[in-house]
Symmetry: C2
Subunit: 298 residues, 2 copies
């Protein structure tokens, strides 16, 4: 069993997490969370989304937040960009990395982005060309890659077509998202192995929700298939406003505990990370259960 | 990644589960649970323990329960036997399979069995010889195989010494128990690979508690190391009365869901199993959270 020596964790709690919380927290509170994440050694943060402020009011302060976060501490910030309007907004900020998104199923793409997959891919291509010209790197994310809340199974063949289109555009890092947390370790392994075989050079990343408590097993099997980049959300926040049944992301602290136990480096200090969970708990006004293995580290 | 086609699940909820519940349920209620488990296709049930009734009053009805459960339905029943006194009690029953137990750490062995590891191994040897003469098969279980609540790390070398002693006696199936749920998938993989390499022919089984939500990941990595026998407890009941910090076993229904999704046969009907969870909930008077993937199957 070949495990990686280093895993890159992309913290998505501020985006995928906060967009699902009933309360809107202040920009100042978000800044506190960013600072706390940085203190724990996190270097990749998906910090917000340029969605329509009426659709996702929790993230309506995207520009403001990007203006006040610390930019000189070796941290890569990214933001989710659902459409051209969102991309244009990013150009007024210091962002150098964005995540574009398309779903693996037509129904979810319509619910999430309000257009067909083909239209999404065209828009992504336009955004990608403009972004490249501006020196902004682009991660591609495919929602409901392992199954859709409306359509059920997503065939591997169909998923590979979408991955292939993004790859052909020139997108060099693609995240497969298990948006509703229904993937199995076997499915995950087979999918990432096929990508590695067919699309050499592509950086594969994975984004798992812990709906069925299989997120860590899915991460394990992704690593065995060569994946070394994982999204996770501090406190296990998250879900998808446009995907019924979605629950929280894999908690960053649970993922780091497993990787620590396996001797896989993440650059993250887990004790400091637990302080960040407590800060989040206070700001989001929500109890977060620490797993016992973390409770002992407090 | 080579997964097994079939996995044998040993249901331990009636033993490892009930011994940790604050209430004592009636023998008649236990019979109902056994019948419901059988209806879902479970064929291996660790049904009770021959511990001292004062120490574990929840299981004081061992003989009575073994007398009334259905014996002609292709089900293998086993019971935990902590000492010679317990073994002598089993001889008055119809049992044809027992589980003997020793800990991987001196402190836990003393807390659990009240003697040293060497004394435990001597007693197990005596029991094994008598059991073999009576045609009773013996599974060996090693508690705190992956770490001890009192002593911390258990070295692989030390664990292998104990596994080796049981193997030399002639015990052909050995379960490594992660009693407090602190194992990591890497540790589990390396341990089972070493056993497979050094002790050919031995059947390895694994028993995981889900303390850190890593049980399914640990099961995945056990399977990759060739393990095909897993203990689990309906409803995720369990813990260890003599191990501070121990939480529930991996829930049988969660394990079966993962294996189903991976196309690995267990012979268990998950919808029927969910009915068993509801029955248990009623009898144990305790809310059991179904993971969303199971809720949909109701």
């Amino acid at each position: 069993m070949n495990f990686p020596e280093y895993v890159k964790i992309v913290e998505v709690g501020l985006r995928d997490g906060l967009q699902n919380e009933p309360i809107v927290i202040s920009t100042e509170s978000k800044l506190q969370i960013v600072k706390s994440l940085i203190e724990s050694g996190i270097t990749n943060i998906e910090v917000t989304s340029f969605s329509h402020p009426k659709l996702i009011p929790q993230l309506a302060d995207a520009e403001l937040l990007l203006d006040i976060i610390p930019w000189n501490e070796g941290v890569s910030y990214s933001a989710l960009v659902p459409n051209m309007k969102g991309f244009e907004r990013t150009l007024q900020t210091k962002l150098k990395e964005i995540t574009v998104v398309v779903s693996a199923s037509e129904s979810h793409n319509r619910a999430n982005i309000n257009c067909s997959i083909a239209e999404s891919l065209d828009r992504i291509n336009e955004i990608f060309i403009l972004a490249r010209a501006k020196g902004i790197s682009v991660r591609g994310e495919i929602s409901v890659s392992f199954g859709c809340p409306f359509e059920g199974d997503v065939s591997l063949e169909h998923l590979m077509l979408i991955v292939g289109k993004l790859y052909e555009m020139g997108i060099s890092e693609i995240t497969l998202a298990d948006t509703i947390g229904i993937a199995s370790p076997k499915q995950v392994y087979e999918t990432f192995c096929l990508i590695k075989k067919n699309l050499p050079g592509l950086i594969s990343a994975a984004h798992f929700h812990d709906t069925n408590k299989m997120a860590l097993a899915n991460i394990l099997s992704s690593m065995l298939a060569g994946v070394t980049v994982f999204d996770s959300a501090i406190g296990g926040l998250g879900g998808c406003p446009f995907a019924p049944g979605a629950t929280g992301n894999i908690a960053t602290e649970n993922l780091v505990l497993m990787l620590d136990k396996m001797g896989i480096d993440t650059g993250i200090d887990i004790k400091q990370l637990i302080k960040c969970v407590f800060l989040l708990e206070k700001l989001v006004k929500k109890h977060i259960d620490l797993i016992p293995g973390l409770g002992k580290l407090e």
